[in-house]
């Protein structure tokens, strides 16, 4: 039998992992909830931001925190670019075309990255201590990433609830015509949404490069997981995605300790498929 102390460590690591996964899921969900298009290539945009931070730190000697801020800006720019160039032309197309367009983007980013930077794994050296609490070892890096992720989500929450633009973004997903009658331009709100979603990707990128190495197929590792979390929480449901992220992170973490790292993911995916059939709209289904 596994010692309880390892289980506890797994639970804690699961929570820390959940924080970053939740950040990823929220960014994706924000865009889907408002614009009704799933960015299949979302995690690949995160990977691009990871590369950005990597190069800023290793080639230009940026301190990590500054590179992180630049990453947010890069993410926002990428979000804007994707929306303007790819999303806007296909807003009225059938869902299959929309899925394929962003799928094509995934292809493009992954192979372009291979072309430019080869398949080498690149990581940013972060020398931070490992904390020990009564026999449990916690990586300080992970802890910081978790805290920053939570802060970012809180910032997003305030943006969406306290500001005019943020509230308008929530409104446009509920009634496009009505918000136009209030003087807001739906197209512009979509653009802002994409920029914010991209900025979230930038934050996630900065936090992830601290813990993982980046390579062109990074999106293949975290992408399906993020989609799964979003669907489980109910596509478009921010609160749902938040909790789903932590649930899935726990499954992965505990599964990893109890069976094996890979099986942890397999179990998570299988649970996902089962849950989808039990509650097709997601655990916290709100949208049809």
């Amino acid at each position: 039998m596994i010692e309880p102390i390892f289980l506890l460590e797994a639970v804690i690591n699961g929570i820390l992992l959940g924080g970053v996964l939740a950040l990823l899921a929220l960014g994706l969900n924000l865009i889907f909830g408002v614009i009704d298009i799933v960015w299949i290539a979302y995690v690949d945009l995160v990977a691009l931001c990871m590369y950005g931070v990597y190069f800023l730190v290793t080639l230009y000697g940026f301190p990590l925190w500054l590179a992180g801020i630049a990453s947010i800006g890069l993410g926002a720019l990428l979000g804007l670019a994707v929306h303007q160039l790819i999303i806007t032309p296909i807003l009225a197309s059938p869902p299959i075309n929309q899925l394929l367009a962003t799928g094509g983007l995934l292809f493009f980013i992954q192979s372009f990255a291979t072309l430019l930077w080869s398949t080498d794994h690149r990581s940013v050296r972060v020398t931070l201590p490992t904390i020990e609490l009564g026999g449990i070892f916690i990586s300080f890096t992970r802890l910081i990433a978790f805290v920053l992720a939570i802060l970012a989500m809180i910032a997003l929450y305030f943006f969406l609830t306290r500001t005019f633009t943020g509230t308008a973004i929530r409104a446009v997903s509920q009634d496009r015509e009505a918000i136009a009658l209030m003087g807001a331009r739906p197209q512009r709100l979509y653009l802002v949404t994409s920029a914010v979603g991209g900025a979230m990707a930038g934050v996630a990128g900065a936090l992830l490069i601290m813990q993982y190495a980046v390579h062109p197929y990074f999106g293949g590792a975290f992408g399906p997981l993020t989609f799964m979390i979003c669907v489980l929480g109910g596509l478009g449901n921010m609160v749902g995605a938040f909790f789903a992220a932590f649930i899935m992170a726990q499954v992965i973490s505990l599964g990893g300790v109890l069976v094996s790292t890979e099986m942890g993911y397999v179990i998570a995916f299988v649970i996902f498929i089962v849950l989808i059939f039990v509650r097709p709209g997601g655990i916290f289904a709100r949208r049809a």
């Binding site: 609830t161 005019f164 509230t167 308008a168 929530r170 409104a171 509920q174 009634d175 015509e177 009505a178 918000i179 136009a180 009658l181 209030m182 003087g183 807001a184 331009r185």
Partner: protein
């Protein structure tokens, strides 16, 4: 204040309005009545910019509005309370009202407008953190009206405000509309409830099958056949 000349409008191949003309002077309350499918809703949508007229002119305070998008027209001072209210169901009462003041000019006076709305509709003040979707029909209509007031309009377009409301609520609603009118707003209201609406407006137009069939002072029209026959079955 508002002038329509020869407005023809519709959806796709279907034309809902033919050569419609009407005027609303500042401070007036005007009604457009008529049976189902007469084109009354289309008329308001053509004014507020949700659809663009195919022909004709829509002039507001001398400015030509036809063809402008909705978010532009509201900036000129025309607020539209749409058919079915069209509130944001997941947003709270307070958030819905906040959205009403989205325009920069309205935002500058946000708190002042909010106070005014809460004074006019105390019920909304009580329910300010409640989700709009969970309000009763009458409360929703008040919220929709309050939301329009938040944009500090000069002209308010009301589309079928009494729709779906219990008779008691209808009376209360028209009373509120009269009070809003007394605050100085110009009103153009589209209604199926002919009897009630004629009591609170100065003039009215009768719209049938997309054309203006009759027009006159409310008092004169009240005695007409069509009112007695009552187009609406309440």
């Amino acid at each position: 204040m508002l002038e329509l000349h020869g407005v023809t409008a519709g959806y796709g191949a279907f034309t809902a309005l033919w050569d419609v003309g009407l005027t609303v002077s500042a401070g007036e309350a005007v009604a457009v009545v008529g049976p189902n499918g007469a084109g009354k809703t289309t008329l308001l949508r053509a004014i507020s910019g949700l659809i663009a007229p195919r022909e004709g002119r829509v002039t507001f305070e001398g400015v030509e509005l036809a063809g402008h998008p909705a978010y532009d027209i509201v900036a000129h001072g025309v607020a539209h309370v749409p058919e079915g209210r069209r509130l944001f169901p997941q947003l709270t009462v307070a958030e819905n009202l906040k959205m009403g003041a989205y325009l920069p000019a309205a935002r500058a006076h946000y708190h002042e407008s909010l106070e005014r709305v809460y004074t006019l509709f105390p019920v909304l003040a009580d329910r300010r953190v409640q989700r709009a979707g969970s309000l009763s029909g009458g409360e929703q209509q008040m919220l929709a009206l309050g939301r329009a007031l938040m944009s500090r309009p000069k002209l308010i377009l009301l589309d079928e405000p009494s729709m779906g409301l219990a008779p008691v609520m209808v009376l209360r609603l028209f009373d509120l509309i009269r009070r809003v009118r007394e605050e100085g707003y110009t009103i153009l209201v589209v209604e199926q409830n002919v009897r009630q609406v004629l009591k609170i407006v100065d003039r009215a137009y009768l719209l049938e099958v997309g054309r203006v069939k009759m027009e006159g002072r409310a008092a004169d029209l009240a005695g007409q056949d069509f009112v007695r026959k009552a187009y609406v079955g309440l």
